[in-house]
């Protein structure tokens, strides 16, 4: 039976270093290649030895697909392609391709320069890796080769995040990391509806959460900013160039307008240029709110938000500043932080995850004294606020996705087995559900449909046989000959097949002699045989023909006297191959003799 095999190399029953191997229709695909952020040694990389023990992966993989730019999904990519070795195609969406190298380089810098690690990929390796990337457009079918087809769909999780549809022949797999409500209601989501892949692979990390509304997160953000401003404090918001900055700006602008606030809001210029550039490139990937703003006016022509100048950091009074980089590990945001950290009226709002080793990470862990360059210490007196705006799906979202897609099998990764029994049970009420551990292969048999053309003659013949009309729900047995020519399959009658193949039809006849003790005359014996068979074989056509034979269906029975024994008769039975069964039966029956 055909099978699709799925093996998680990371994120099996584990959070972090997502990397899943899929074998479908003879093709091997790697889905994501992430780094585990919790480890400092080789455990942070997926275990590629499952693919091969000896080095390069190129011959073993048909392609690699990256779902989005988060490091736990792409962090190990340069390691895999340049240090382990892979030269085949790497697919990802345009925004992912643009953002990945930036995050990878940032991460490399922190890990190598700040933490002094050695077994790590270099800047050149990141560049070489990205050269192997083939960008994907949404809804565009890409033929990886003659048989393997992939297509990316909007997932909405982060900028550039995609769900991937993989198809080989009539078998398919859909992989999604996380999909938010918007993506499911989006007009472009119609494809998921009843797409019925053989396997739907999804993360289960958030399947056990029920998310607080976006409005409440925004409320908390505004409340914190407002409270600081009201007491005359300064608020620093370190952001990535492509982060939540734009949305938070729109939110603050609306709020400032509504509340008639006067305190200045600044946006550091480095951010403006980069962000503007990327937003122009990826306008189709942004959400409605941002698109509306961007189309109506230039992104950063806000009434209350102005470009920042480093001298403003010393101005008295309340203000809000958005500055890069997001983890406070260098640059302008760190400079401002150093100036404002000593005042308890001030606040820093961290809108996302910070990598270990950065100042952002330290203060989010409650550290109130920081060691800076030149052995100086910084006392952290300002208020530290950690806010999460990530748009991942939750329990409801995942069930919605599964019910829309109607997969034949559901496969969950990224969760702890013991804590997923309820979710598994819930899904299993409607679908098959699997949760493999790292290195564990799940082999799922598929039932691919094989399309076959049927000749009109054969169809007509079946109809004349009577019975119910052809019904797609009721399988029906029929006889025919299957001709496989190139990639097409055809079902024809045997005569037609012989003709097409230029073969002669041969007939096969069996003959059998049965000795019978019977003193009667030949014709009497024949008549007795006729009567006997008539009483035994009530459903069959039995004829006593004038030429001295008895016919049962197409089987011919003749009687002649035995040359050796005057009281014995020799019965000659003859039948064609098609009546083999009946013929054998008759010969056994007659061997038993005739009733008296």
């Amino acid at each position: 039976m055909p099978e699709i095999k799925v093996t998680p190399l990371g994120a099996g029953q584990d959070v972090g270093r997502s990397c899943i191997l899929v074998s479908i229709g003879g093709k091997n695909i790697m889905l994501d290649c992430g780094m585990h952020m919790g480890y400092n040694d080789d455990r942070r990389f997926p275990d590629f030895s499952y693919i091969t023990q000896n080095g390069r992966l190129t011959d073993f993989l048909d392609c690699v697909i990256i779902s989005h730019f988060h490091l736990d999904h792409c962090g190990a990519l340069p390691y895999m392609s340049e240090m382990v070795g892979y030269d085949g195609p790497i697919y990802m969406t345009h925004p992912t391709k643009a953002i990945c190298p930036i995050l990878l380089e940032d991460f490399r810098k922190i890990t190598v320069d700040k933490k002094g690690e050695t077994n790590f990929f270099t800047s050149q390796m990141i560049k070489d890796c990205m050269k192997k990337v083939i960008p994907l457009n949404l809804h565009q079918t890409v033929q990886v080769d003659d048989e393997l087809e992939i297509k990316a769909y909007y997932a909405g999780h982060v900028l550039g995040a995609a769900m991937v549809h993989i198809k080989v022949g009539s078998e398919s797999v859909v992989y999604t990391v996380s999909v938010n409500k918007f993506a499911l209601c989006h007009s472009g989501a119609a494809w998921i509806d009843k797409c019925r892949p053989d396997i739907l692979i999804s993360e289960s990390t958030y399947a056990t959460t029920i998310r607080d509304s976006k409005r409440c997160r925004e409320r908390d953000f505004l409340k914190k900013v407002h409270e600081s401003i009201e007491r005359g404090g300064k608020v620093l918001i370190p952001v990535f160039a492509l982060g939540r900055a734009q949305e938070l700006c729109i939110l603050l602008e609306t709020f400032w307008e509504r509340m008639n606030l006067k305190a200045p809001i600044y946006f550091s210029t480095g951010l403006t240029e980069k962000a503007n550039h990327y937003y122009k490139l990826f306008i189709t990937w942004t959400n409605q709110k941002i698109r509306k703003t961007f189309v109506q006016r230039n992104m950063f022509e806000f009434k209350h938000i102005k470009a920042f100048d480093r001298s403003y950091a010393d101005n008295p009074g309340p203000m809000v500043v958005f500055a890069t980089p997001g983890m406070l590990h260098a640059g302008q945001s760190l400079q401002i932080f150093k100036k404002w950290a000593g005042n308890d009226k001030n606040m820093v709002i961290m809108p996302g995850y910070c990598v270990q080793g950065t100042i952002g990470h330290k203060i989010l862990n409650g550290q109130r004294k920081l060691e800076m360059e030149g052995r100086s210490t910084l006392d952290v007196k300002l208020q530290v606020e950690y806010m999460s705006f990530s748009a991942h799906a939750d329990a409801k979202g995942i069930m919605q996705l599964i019910r829309m897609a109607e997969p034949r099998n559901m496969l969950l990764v990224h969760g702890e087995a013991a804590k997923m029994e309820f979710l598994k049970g819930k899904i299993e009420q409607e679908f098959n559900c699997y949760m493999p551990a790292n290195g564990e292969t799940v082999a799922l048999t598929t039932n691919p449909s094989v399309p076959v053309d049927i000749s009109l003659n054969l169809l007509k013949r079946e109809m004349t046989l009577g019975g119910p009309l052809p019904d797609p729900k009721k399988p029906r047995t029929m006889h025919g000959t299957l001709i496989m020519k190139e990639n097409s399959l055809k079902l024809v009658s045997s005569e037609q097949a012989l003709k097409e193949l230029g073969l002669n039809e041969h007939q096969l006849r069996f003959t059998c002699r049965v000795q019978l003790q019977d003193p009667h005359s030949d014709s009497d014996t024949l008549h007795r045989i006729y009567t006997h068979l008539k009483s035994v074989l009530k459903d069959y056509t039995i004829q006593h023909l004038p030429d001295g034979t008895v016919m049962v269906e197409s089987i011919v029975i003749k009687v002649s006297s035995s040359a050796e024994d005057a009281n014995a008769k020799v019965l000659l039975l003859s039948w064609s191959y098609q009546d083999e069964d009946l013929g054998s039966y008759l010969s056994s029956l007659l061997k038993k003799g005739l009733p008296t």
Binding site: A183, T209, R211, L242, G243, R258, F422
Partner: protein, 375 residues
Amino acid sequence: MMGETEAVEIDDILDDWFIESLKSYKDLHVYQLEHPTQIIEWTSGKTVCVAGYSSGKNEILELRLPLRLLADEKKGLCAERDFKVVHGGFSEGPVCCLRHIPGTRCAVTNDGLTSDLQLWDLGADDTDVIRKTGSLPGTSVSQAGSRITARLSSPPQVLHGAQSSGVQLTQLSTGQTLYRLEVDSTKPLSSLKFVSETAFLASCCDGTVYLADTRTSAPPQASPPPGECALWWTDASAASQCRVIMLSSSGQAVVSDLRNLGGALCQAQLDVQTSPRKPEDVTVAWAPALDGCFSVSGLSGLVQIYDTARWRAELQDASPLFQHAGHSVSSQHGDGSAPIFITTHVWHPERPRTLLSAASDGSVHVWDWVDPQTN
């Protein structure tokens, strides 16, 4: 990075209330369950149970409150705002009443159709499954569901019944009946509550209240309804003074002392927007940590908090100290469908102003309100 987009129309409607909420709530969390719940029951200081009440199969979920809410001094460093489903299970029928048995990981439910009870194991750390472990038969042949209550006892026991004549105290492990309330009347109950280790109040829908003790088979003290009204709800406070509040479907609220149920200490007329018709429509609860304050839902689309401190013996109109309008304001239902109503609400056992409320659209809110008088 990129956020999801919610319907623009709802965003606009939320604006006024949303902006106001910055000042009127210390914390506010808004959740959407897959199916609405009629029960919110504390299973620890950090976890609650919710369950579906549709006619077929329903889920029972044990949810852990968002860490950020509970973090207090370290709040700023905690970004975790979501409910976590820590345990889940399936019930074959609706869950209309669910009680956690204190000191155990056991819960008792009733389907609102008979007086039988189902027993559940809420699960430990090594599993996330809530399993049914057995059932207890009720006594009444009534069509209504049972009220259930329990207090800390060893071995664990549960007090339950659908009618005044059918109230019994049952030992969970053996199913043995340890006590029966001896009354002749068969009045449907609106609530059962322990007021001490052995004394309890059995409050009937018609306003009659029985004060009984499980140690004695002597007949209970019966207190007649405080006024003419079809439906009454009762709650007894855990505080030392032990106040009892009774609320009628016409909005009359009467406060009395447990030792003198018939005598009203003070009373007030509350405003009723939507007339409640069934016992499940209304929830009345004293605040566990705010003396003299109680909450009510079911008289309108809001959860209202009243302070009885200034109430007098003569009936006068009272206005709420605080109102939570979150559910009606952010209702997911459009025009034309039935208006949403609040199915239940509870106070946090220790945090003075934290409440959880649930509505018929599946929404669950967790809110910590600011006393308007302190502004």
